[in-house]
Amino acid sequence: MVHGEIWTIKELFVYPNEYIYWSVQIVMYPFMTGLVAGAFVLSSLYHVFGVRQLREMARFSLVFSFALLFVAPMPIVLHLLHPLRGINVFMTPHFTSAIAAFGIVFSAYGAIVASELWFLYRKHFVEIALPLKEKQDKNLREWLKYLIFCALTLGVYDISEKALKKDEKAIKVLAAIGIPVACFLHGYAGFIFGSVKANALWMTPLMPVIFIMSAIVSGIALCMLTYILAMELRKRLAAREKGDSQRFQSKEDLAGAEVSVIRMTSKYLLMFLVLAITLELLDFIFRGYTAVKSWDVLRSVIYGKDFANIFILQYAIGSLIPFVLFLLPGLTIRRAVLGACLVLFGVFMMRWNVVIGGQAFSLSFAGYMHYHLPIIPHDWETFKEGFSGALLIGLMPFPLFWLISKIFPVFELKESH
């Protein structure tokens, strides 16, 4: 069986070699990178622009962004027919390709996020490593912990007031550099599609900008969602361990802090949501008005075959409803959860409609291809490029976040800065 044949159905005149080669993993890929970029931008709003209300959220979203960072290239790896050769992108990069440039930008971005985290948590590492160093009879577990945290300090044990001031400055600089790099990173994901001149739907200079905007929207939404979930978990714990007031604030205090953070964050979400939708509509209108050769087939896809996907799932359910939900006064946690979920779904559908929708018509402009997502895997290919593979990628950030938050604790009450 030819790669792609299993989930492609051809209608009317399609060239013989055309299949839906870029399937659900390529939908997941810009979705996950978008979340990385969005989460980082959210954290930078506090570090660079000093949005005080986002302080709690800033640290959280930075750590979450780091967890997502490891997941972001996974869809590509699952998509590649020779995943082990993926290293070639770093060994012999061909920079005229958006994917090669992505490799470098991605690594640079990873380095920035990691450095920022290091400065943010340096004091924490030292505080853990030093007492362990003093301790005489370390057991195996403590030895391991000691070695890890020792390595993480990178040999710097200076946590004087002066040094910490320097850290703060470094974080600010890194966050400032990070914003354009995050945008660049996701702009590149958009460029990968926007620069394919053979594809009539993808080829628009607006593509990278649209991708950045919807990336920030989805990143903020996911951070909100995870933050709420984490807070709920803490509240439950606080209710259970009422006596232990040193570790946990009271239930009431926590609830109050949460709503104000969420309301603040949702304002930013709304702003970027409006920008994203405006740009997308601009793109639609422009295509219809200029109506070049490809418009006939594009129109039949946009207003015909993909109508439900685009206008009902993406715009109505994924954009309009959450827009109203967030805009109505007196935002509650429950409403925020629903809104954030719908926004995430909407952005996912946007990626779907770009990636799958861009392959819904033939290069001949005289035929169509229909995509059938493999739900139940019956071999390796239908597993990794099917529903199960996408689900795996979608869930991966959460255990990873849990693991990373063992090293970078997110809800430490003692403020280091």
Partner: protein
């Protein structure tokens, strides 16, 4: 004490150095920028040799003629002279050494490629004598009556 601010930078530079060292061992020597520049000519030059050495399968009528001159001569007088022997007899590759015997395609489908009647103006197809495959002895193989080496009606068996 020197500032610790640059510590992460050294780590990053170390990693970059590591990649460059790995690259030195991993990338084949013939990889580089060739005639068409970085945009179109960034490749492993040895690959051109791979494609040049790809085995040839179809040898052409002249190759067949050296051993089967009688068939070549008889066919050359007919309209089927324009058809390569290997189109029906299969690729010669290194015949007679390998394969020793060729598999001949005598199927009805092979003849219909040209002789199923398609009345397409401005296409060469319209000038070829054709039949309606659904009506002209649909259950029989063409070669039962026709001789592809003597395609005219006088060659009927």
């Amino acid at each position: 004490m020197k500032s610790h601010i640059l510590r992460p930078l050294w780590v990053v530079l170390g990693l970059v150095a590591l990649v460059l060292v790995a690259r030195f061992f991993y990338v084949p020597k013939s990889f580089g920028i060739h005639e068409r520049g970085y945009m179109y000519g960034w490749y492993r030059a040895d690959d051109i040799e791979f494609w040049k050495n790809f085995p040839v399968k179809y040898q052409g009528t002249e190759y067949c003629k050296t051993c089967h001159p009688e068939n070549y001569e008889s066919l050359s007088m007919t309209p089927h002279a324009i058809i390569q022997c290997e189109n029906c007899h299969g690729p010669a590759i290194e015949h007679p050494a390998n394969p020793q015997k060729l598999t001949i395609d005598k199927s009805r489908g092979l003849c219909l490629r040209c002789h199923a009647d398609l009345p397409y103006p401005t296409s060469g197809r319209a000038d070829i004598k054709g039949i309606d495959p659904d009506k002209h002895n649909p259950d029989l193989e063409c070669v039962m009556c026709h001789n592809p080496h003597k395609p005219g009606l006088e060659g009927l068996k």
